[in-house]
């Protein structure tokens, strides 16, 4: 369920790092908790985000939730499909519905994030 090559936050984001760029999204657990996602508000390309700070939001029918940047850096790309198809976040949160890419400014931050096994244990304990 939770890819081994991703790292995870306790706020239910994931990040996959390739070289100095991290691709981030929300976890399957997060989309399940939110329910039908109807709106995604992403940072603009070029925005500088800080690890753990709010960088956007995801809205379901019921509520709005912050998206926190899993790592610090500059936003280099946002996923263009989500503006018209936010429901893809419910269908494929770890794949097609990634949210945005960040050029890492502090690569050492990645090590502070949870592994897939640690995240799995964390959400089970939360239930």
């Amino acid at each position: 369920m939770y890819p081994q090559n991703f790292r995870y936050t306790k706020e239910h984001e994931w990040v996959r790092v390739d070289g100095d760029v991290g691709t981030m999204g929300i976890t399957d657990h997060a989309q399940q908790e939110l329910g039908d996602i109807v709106f995604v508000d992403l940072p603009k390309v070029g925005t500088r985000v800080a690890q753990g700070a709010s960088a956007g939001s995801v809205e379901s029918v019921k509520a709005v939730s912050d998206i926190y940047a899993p790592v610090s850096g500059e936003v280099t790309e946002i996923n263009p499909i989500l503006a018209d198809a936010p429901e893809k976040l419910n269908a494929d949160p770890h794949g097609e519905a990634w949210l945005f890419k960040i050029r890492l400014s502090v690569p050492a931050e990645v090590a502070k994030l949870l592994s897939a096994d640690e995240y799995q244990k964390y959400i089970e304990a939360e239930k």
Partner: protein, 367 residues
């Protein structure tokens, strides 16, 4: 996630769990917010039929020779004018004119009224009515004796009809009858909180699980689905029905909430009447109004509303509307400036986002 131990649960709680519902704390009750998904459940009610467990709602009975007089003293609508077997929407008010609760009043017999009240208000409502009782009437909180199920949607009547000998086509809207459903006693009311056709039934708790399953089986040919409070909220919002704690509360009067029609000034004295007369004569300060978002963004309750660049009111409820595919909401604005067709701004996460005030209800079913 809230700790489940402190929450109250309906007799159907294990059934909801078995169906994989997502359970949430709703005013102290652990209730299903959704089963398959809010949008899908919402559309099922608009197009076919949905089944809701609304057993968290409270029931209060007023009985005795002066039951009608007590009902008319504590509530704003004219209870004694109801015919036997008829129900109406009404308000319990404080003497300052704010809402204790909004309720449904059913006239069972001349000396027996049956009130359906909000879950988290039931103890407060009961104490309120009991304390005002200077009539030859008895007030009793009887919520434990009832499970309430709502069968809502265009196929709601056909679903329920399969399980009852009562001719449902003879029960007009906001009328009810005591009959049998699936061979068991049931109060069958042609009422609802979805803006769609349908019924609400009151049954004994022991019957809950069997009745739930019988209703799902009866509605299977129509595509019935169990529906949670998430869909119930989007459905009622499209129909612009008030929800206690959002559109109405102790600080809001029925005149402000656009509920003038449940206030019968001519019926004699009632709690809150004086305050409402004063407010009516001097003009209300604020009014509830519907709006649609014009720019991207979803208004949520509590968000500030700006008019001509200055804060002027607040959002009481806001949501995407699955039927209309728009983002809608209700808000309070100063009465003199509360007309439809006006551009307003909703402060969404510190950004003003354009919306326009519109007529309500947002959705009205074809008759």
């Amino acid at each position: 996630m809230a700790a489940a131990s402190a929450l109250r649960a309906t007799p159907l709680n294990p059934v909801h769990r078995a169906l994989g519902a997502k359970l949430v704390d709703f005013g102290g009750w652990e209730m299903p917010v959704q089963y398959s998904g809010i949008i899908e459940e919402h559309q099922t009610v608009r197009r076919a039929v949905g089944l809701f467990d609304v057993s968290h709602m409270g029931e209060i009975e007023i009985r005795g020779p002066e039951a009608g007089q007590l009902a008319d003293f504590v509530a704003t609508n004219y209870a004694e004018k109801l015919k036997i077997g008829q129900a109406h929407y009404s308000g319990l008010l404080y003497s300052h004119g704010g809402f204790v609760d909004d309720i449904l009043v059913h006239k069972v017999t001349e000396d027996h009224y049956f009130l359906c009240v909000n879950a988290s208000n039931q103890e407060k409502d009961f104490a309120h009515i009991r304390d005002l009782n200077r009539f030859d009437a008895r007030v009793e909180l009887v919520s434990e004796r009832y499970v309430q199920l709502a069968i809502q949607g265009p196929k709601g009547p056909a679903t329920l009809q399969k399980l009852t000998p009562v001719d449902l086509s003879k029960i007009r809207y906001y009328w009810f009858t005591d009959g049998a459903v699936a061979g068991r006693p049931a109060r069958i009311a042609h009422t609802g909180y979805t803006g769609e056709d349908g019924f609400e039934i009151y049954i004994a708790p022991e019957e809950a699980e069997r009745m739930w399953n019988e209703l799902l089986a009866a509605g299977a040919e129509f595509g019935i689905k169990p529906c949670g409070l998430g869909a119930r909220n989007t459905l009622r919002l499209e129909a612009a029905m008030a929800l206690y704690g959002h559109e109405i509360d102790a600080s809001i009067s029925p005149l402000e909430a656009g509920l003038d029609w449940i206030v019968k000034f001519d019926k004699g004295d009632f709690v809150g009447r004086e305050a409402l007369v004063r407010s009516r004569d001097s003009g209300v300060k604020r009014q509830l109004l519907g709006f649609e978002m014009r720019a991207r963004g979803i208004a949520r309750d509590g968000y500030e509303v700006y008019l001509d660049g200055a804060p002027a009111g607040w959002v009481t409820s806001g949501s995407p509307s699955p039927t209309l595919n728009k983002n809608i909401g209700l808000c309070y604005l100063p009465a003199g400036r509360a007309e439809t067709g006006r551009t307003i701004q909703i402060m969404i996460r510190n950004q003003p986002v354009d919306a326009i005030t519109v007529e309500t209800p947002f959705y009205k079913r074809a008759k």
